[in-house]
């Protein structure tokens, strides 16, 4: 969609390829941007917001890519990776790390969890090829609710995290102040007027995105795409399909773990218990809005999708509120994102399901 041949053809092609829902969503965002100044919303603040939220969420959306590539479908089991990240974050604090060091420690601690969970999860998904998405959803749910008990039971003792009265059991929300709050965003932050750009976070995202992009160009990465595109072909070409799928699941899980840590450093809080429950859905719809399908996704889809999705999330409340004095943003977000996922699921896709 980058090259311009004839404008009309391009539009026709992109409409067909893009799909109506995606077009509506994009159009809606453009409309919001145009409307914003007229209804008195401050455009620079808005844009700054979008960039910030993009930097928080980008990696979570990126976590979709490996599994989509290997044909495991949309990773509705994202919460599993998020839990690894949460374990990393809480243990890093528990072990007494502070400041930026606690972020590094969190990633290091989260990694083995993500690898183990990812392998178990990948092993399971290899047993149930064809039914991945539904089972992924429920694996995510089960693990979140299991962890709800664990947060209460595990022997955490840092006074900053446990309930003050009982002296045990983690709080639902833990402030990261003094720990890795803004650990990345603070690096080389640029502030111009109302706009503040979290350079560090963006660079970190760019680094991971580049790593994934590069990986997809390697021999193994090529095999991963082929497995997703046609497992029978890959098998006939001597690729170990199960191993590649497993690898993709582990990658997705690890990215989700890192993704939630990056989200938390921007947001400033760790949210536990039921918070990771529905975190997969925004990420799934973001990548779909960006142009991915159930078995095709690129880094470009991630970037475009996250910007569009977060754009709608941040713009609608202000613009709508100023326009019709009804804050319908939540409802619009739900309808738009779920509509997008529905659309993707009902499209005929070859190969993987």
């Amino acid at each position: 969609m980058e090259e311009s041949i004839t404008f009309k053809d391009r539009i026709k092609d992109s409409v067909a390829e893009f799909g109506l829902p995606r077009l509506i969503i994009t159009g809606f965002l453009v409309l919001l941007l145009i409307m914003a100044p007229f209804v008195g919303a401050d455009l620079p603040t808005q844009i700054s917001n979008i960039i910030n939220r993009f930097s928080w969420n980008g990696i979570l959306v990126l976590a979709m890519v490996p599994m989509v590539h290997s044909g495991c479908g949309l990773n509705f089991g994202l919460p599993l990776g998020i839990i690894s990240g949460l374990l990393g974050a809480t243990m890093s604090i528990e072990l007494g790390f502070t400041g930026a060091m606690s972020f590094v420690a969190a990633i290091l601690i989260a990694t083995p969890f993500a690898l183990v969970f990812g392998m178990l999860y990948g092993w399971l998904l290899n047993k149930i090829k064809g039914g991945e998405m539904m089972i992924a959803t429920y694996v995510g749910f089960s693990s979140v609710s299991l962890m709800c008990m664990m947060w209460l039971v595990l022997p955490y003792s840092s006074p900053n995290m446990v309930w003050g009265l009982a002296g045990k059991g983690l709080r639902t929300t833990i402030s990261l102040e003094g720990y890795f709050d803004q650990a990345l965003a603070g690096i080389a932050q640029i502030n111009i007027g109302n706009i503040s750009i979290p350079t560090g976070t963006l660079l970190f995202f760019a680094l991971l995105a580049f790593a994934i992009w590069a990986f997809l160009h390697t021999k193994t990465g090529t095999a991963m795409t082929a497995v997703g595109s046609n497992p029978a072909f890959a098998k006939a070409a001597g690729v170990n399909v199960d191993r590649i799928r497993m690898l993709s699941v582990v990658m997705s899980t690890w990215l989700a773990a890192v993704g939630i840590l990056v989200y938390e450093q921007g947001f400033g809080f760790i949210q536990l218990y039921m918070a990771p429950f529905y975190m997969a859905l925004p990420a799934v719809s973001a990548i779909l809005i960006g142009g991915a399908s159930v078995n095709k996704a690129s880094i470009m889809n991630v970037i475009v999708g996250t910007i569009l999705f977060q754009g709608i999330v941040t713009m609608t409340p202000t613009v709508m509120n100023n326009m019709i004095h009804m804050d319908m943003s939540e409802v619009i977000r739900i309808i738009a994102s779920m509509g997008m996922i529905l659309f993707a699921l009902t499209r005929k896709t070859e190969g993987s399901r």
Binding site: T218, A226, S229, A236, G238, E350
Partner: protein, 530 residues
């Protein structure tokens, strides 16, 4: 057998082509009431197409219909859908079962034609809320089974039935239709035991006595001679013979089935048996569990540098041989390549031993339909032989070498005359013939020592056919690669191969030089037919 003045079925000048490919040319046929017609012919001779036309199958109407006239009971008919054909009294038993696994025989026999009991609710919600009349269903199915004359358990679930009984359930279903005048049986005995087959033949005779005409398609000639009044033989879309069964015999039918009067080509001009060449691949006691293409106890030696053809009728197991050796289907036995034994059921080891395989299932196994030609052609070579990769960090990272891949793809596009818009075009957008060329290119890029090619010309047009076959021959000559080519088209095998092994009933029924007369091939093909 009485010959009425107005035959039940009359086909007049039936012609059909698929995208310019003539598959039926001017078929004229008559069938009287209660007559049994045996229809013989090789695979691809046009039998199925003719029956599909008669039955109003969707793939006929979708590909532009047919020309010529069909008369049923003196009335001109033309069916758009199978339902119209059924309505008019034609029943067909397909090779694949069309049965609901969790229903019993009775429920299947009367599927969607169940007798109903009136219920008041249906006045509001429509007839589908009438309850089923189980008693009447039982009676009707009993009637149909009785008509068939073969006893089956009407209350047995389909999924616990032996395969023969499933077949009989299907036949009973057709017989339960009151309007049935003509029954088409497509290789019904293939799945039956000998005793069941006998019962079926008796049942066909019974139907004929009741005035139901039967078209009986089979490869088992003795069955045809036992039960049929007339034998019709199709070859290359032409009705070459239509004689009373009493005036013909197996040898004559075989000859009509395979004999090529038009081209009369002998073997390929440069075919040469190389008896002295060393054996490169030796297959012993191979069995392969490939659904519909089961291989039993096959032993075969392939000589270095030759092109070995494997022929035979569809479903006899010829496709199972390469698929089994390459590890795509469960297999057993021993395979020795250049003196080393190759473990089965592991595609990777086969590929590492420099085998290559062009699958008959282009779209499912052969291609990455949604990826570019570059990917399709370079992928196996990249994965197996680490070709087209650039190493960084001392081999830690292996990146795709896009330039090398493009050059390779361009080379094969030119060499095999693949018609495409460029190396980045998706394989899905190519025509069948060009897709097949991509599959070949993919195998050639591996530079294999041994190449299996399965049905290389299936579903592609004449021009592409010649190109593909020539490319194979050329590749064999120039790089000395041994080629094992599996094809249903005997003619094509004879043009290309040095020797031809014929598979029948999952076993090798014989190996002949490609110059051997057609009749010999025909006899071998039908030898152990299942």
């Amino acid at each position: 057998m009485e010959t009425n003045s107005a035959p039940l079925l009359k086909l007049q000048g039936i012609k059909k082509d698929f995208n310019g490919n003539q598959v039926l040319a001017d078929i004229n046929l008559e069938l009287g009431k209660g007559e049994v017609l045996g229809l013989c012919g090789e695979n691809g001779a046009g039998k199925s197409t003719l029956m599909k036309i008669l039955f109003g199958a969707a793939d006929i109407t979708e590909t532009g219909g047919y020309s010529g006239d069909i008369y049923l009971d003196g009335q001109k008919v033309s069916f758009e859908t199978p339902f119209e054909a059924i309505e008019a009294g034609i029943g067909m038993v397909h090779q694949e079962f069309s049965l609901i696994p969790g229903f019993d025989a009775t429920e299947n026999i009367l599927l969607n034609r169940e007798p109903e009991k009136y219920s008041f609710i249906s006045e509001i919600f429509g007839d589908r809320l009438n309850t089923l009349d189980r008693k009447k269903m039982d009676e009707r199915s009993a009637e149909a089974v009785e008509k068939m004359g073969v006893a089956i358990d009407r209350h047995m679930m389909i999924n616990s039935m032996p395969v023969g009984h499933k077949q009989f359930t299907e036949i009973a279903r057709e017989l339960s239709k009151d309007q049935l005048k003509l029954l088409i049986l497509d290789e019904p005995t293939a799945v039956l035991t000998e005793r069941e087959a006998e019962a079926l033949l008796a049942s066909i005779k019974g139907m004929s006595e009741r005035g139901i005409s039967v078209i009986f398609i089979t490869h088992r000639l003795q069955e045809v001679l036992t039960v049929c009044d007339t034998v019709a033989v199709l070859r290359d879309g032409v009705l070459v013979e239509c004689t009373p069964a009493s005036e013909t015999d197996e040898a004559r039918i075989t000859k009509s089935m395979v004999g090529r009067s038009i081209m009369g080509v002998a073997g390929s001009d440069d075919a040469s048996e190389q008896p002295d060449a060393p054996t490169i691949l030796s297959i012993e006691k191979l069995w392969v569990d490939m659904p519909g293409e089961t291989v039993r106890n096959v032993s075969l030696d392939v000589k270095e540098g030759e092109i070995l053809g494997i022929g035979g009728l569809a479903g006899q197991g010829k496709l199972g041989i390469p698929n089994g050796i390459m590890g795509l289907y469960e297999a057993g036995g021993t395979v020795t390549f250049e003196g080393r034994q190759i473990p089965l059921n592991n595609p990777r080891i086969c590929l590492d031993s420099s085998f290559a395989f062009v699958s008959e299932d282009r779209r499912r196994v052969g291609l990455l339909l949604d990826e570019s030609l570059e990917w399709n052609i370079s992928f196996p070579a990249m994965q197996i032989q680490n070709k087209f990769l650039k190493s960084y960090l001392g081999g830690l990272i292996k990146w795709r070498d896009e330039k090398a891949i493009r050059e390779l793809t361009e080379k094969y596009i030119e060499e095999l005359q693949i018609r495409c818009t460029g190396t980045k075009q998706n394989a899905r957008q190519l025509s069948g013939g060009n897709q097949q060329k991509v599959c070949l290119a993919k195998a050639f890029a591996l530079q294999p020592r041994l190449l299996f090619v399965s049905e290389p010309t299936r579903g592609i047009d004449v021009g592409a056919k010649a190109l593909v076959l020539n490319a194979l021959k050329k590749f064999n000559k120039e790089s000395g690669t041994t080629v094992v080519m599996v094809s249903s088209e005997l003619q094509e095998l004879r043009q290309t191969c040095d020797r031809i092994a014929i598979v029948s009933g999952g076993r090798i029924s014989g190996i002949l030089p490609s110059s051997a007369p057609m009749e010999e091939f025909g006899t071998l093909m039908l030898k152990d037919v299942v």
